[in-house]
Amino acid sequence: MSEYIDGFADANTVGIVEKQSFTFANSGEPLLLESGQLLAPVTLAFETYGRLTPARDNAILICHALTGDAHVAGYHDPAKGGSGKPGWWELMVGPGKPIDTDRYFVICSNALGSCMGSTGPASEKPDGSGLYGLDFPVVTIGDMVKAQRELIGHLGIPRLLAVVGGSMGGMQVLDWSCRYPEMVYAAIPLATTARHSALNIAFHEVARQAIMADPNWNRGRYTDSSKPGTGLAVARMVGHITYLSDEAMRRKFGRRLQDRDAFSFDFDLDLPDFQVESYLRYQGRKFVERFDANSFLYITKAADYFDLAAQHGQGSLAGAMSQAQARFLVISFSSDWLYPTYRSRELVQAMKKAGRDVSFMEIDADFGHDAFLLQNERLSALIANFLDHSQAKLRMEAGHAV
């Protein structure tokens, strides 16, 4: 193991990790979905880092964003086909890092409906008649959380010290704290919202239409050799624009040209004029290699359907938050125009009305929605401190003070 770790630039890493897999509803009860449909069996891909204490009081669940996966930290073994790339929140998770794997037992599972090892439209149907495709039932954020709940039970964890996540992960954090209040001691929803606005749904719809307009999509029945790559790439480009900010894009690209000194005065698909065009095409291409088009449809739909107030508070956000028990740390980013600060403030307002213990901060950062994934001293310190105090509080309340 260590021979690989030596090769990594950052010594504070959990090192080589393995993707694991958990299947439930194999023979027993199927998972009842919010749509009323049943799903069985259900597999979740997941990773864990650090160790569970004997008191089982140090578990932190991390929920990934839209197209993320369970690989939060460390590296997959290059000898076993690992990419050598660190997990998506390597900055945040590891020994001595804000979510300190020397202290906490960290779990991340891939969302239900995704294509990174969990059951979704790209999975084989149980009856052996091929892939699910559009036969896969529509899943919701709540369904994803219910599936995660099975995993947490399977891991023998009675209560999570914290549930942490940004964007769609933040929606799951909120759903967790209302759905299973007794299981969530602390919650950190980052750069998120209690429900999608028309603008959010509009962007997702454009992305879905891009996929469905691709002739290769073929109502969800495509093969590896004929997948709707163009549509999926365009969908990703739309997403990427919403994750950045005007200022971040101006700084990163401006109006600079890509590998040329003058405009081409054509529509060359291989050689675009502007750097930003080149960047988006690259992001689109890269995404097609790793993500399934149908999964993208399902997951964006889940985010669009999410409505915390309707689901848990009969239309009242304060009503929903009165179901929760967790102590909350809500964080927004000043340049996030996908889920702007006022959306987080709505959440905080509801938490205050419901008498929740809540902290809130808007972090000044000009990277747009993606800020929560990037290096940020302030974010790191807030999360580290909040988790530290939450653990101390939990242990004090549990009567075995540290």
Partner: protein, 199 residues
């Protein structure tokens, strides 16, 4: 802890729930949490100060006290504190009424503008006074108004805000020691602290 905050803390019962408006870096709340088992909530505008509060394990919301207070239900807190901030509030009557709506008691403290040094400065120099408590020039001060003990008593009377206790403090700026005055308060007090609430 600063002497004025010690005085405020002495008025807050064990185990109370406390809202601190403009809590700064959380000095008072941290003290109350550690020594009085208080369940505290802070509101603070400055990002750095909010971060310091969270670093101390306090619950704090970044925002404007005038609007943040509106979200709380009636009687949510035992005590609501407005320490050294009144001089920066645009609509004090509204804020104080809100304090006594969401809390059973309110604590208000401010630098006393009728201290003899201030009176002398104005009398002798003819310029807007500057003191260690109100250290700004007229053109760069965040303090939009200056208040004397007498002014505040009259204000409370006019707005039907019952004063339960009052302490006039002589303490050096940000020092931990000082004393509560009983004589010549209007002239000698650097700070006034008032406990408001229904009798």
């Amino acid at each position: 802890m600063r002497f004025d905050l010690q005085q405020i803390a002495s008025w807050i019962p064990q185990g109370a729930s406390v809202l601190d408006l403009g809590c700064g870096s959380g000095e008072l709340l941290a003290h109350l949490q550690a020594h009085k088992g208080v369940r505290g909530q802070g509101i603070e505008h400055g990002e750095d100060k909010v971060a310091q509060c969270i670093g101390r394990g306090l619950s704090v919301i970044q925002g404007d006290i005038n609007t943040e207070i509106l979200d709380y239900p009636d009687g949510r807190f035992d005590v609501v504190v407005l320490s050294q901030t009144l001089q920066q509030v645009y609509k004090p009557a509204i804020l104080l009424k809100e304090m006594l709506r969401v809390g059973r008691r309110g604590v208000v403290s401010f630098p006393n503008f009728s201290h003899w040094r201030i009176r002398m400065q104005l009398l002798l120099s003819g310029q807007a006074p500057r003191t260690s408590e109100l250290p700004y020039e007229w053109w760069n001060t965040p303090n939009i108004r200056v208040i004397t003990l007498k002014d505040f008593r009259a204000f409370c009377k006019a707005h039907a805000l019952p004063i339960l206790e009052e302490a006039a403090l002589d303490t050096d700026y940000r020092r931990q020691d000082g004393h509560v005055l009983s004589l010549w308060k209007s002239w000698r007090a650097r700070y006034g602290i008032f406990l408001l609430g229904a009798r």
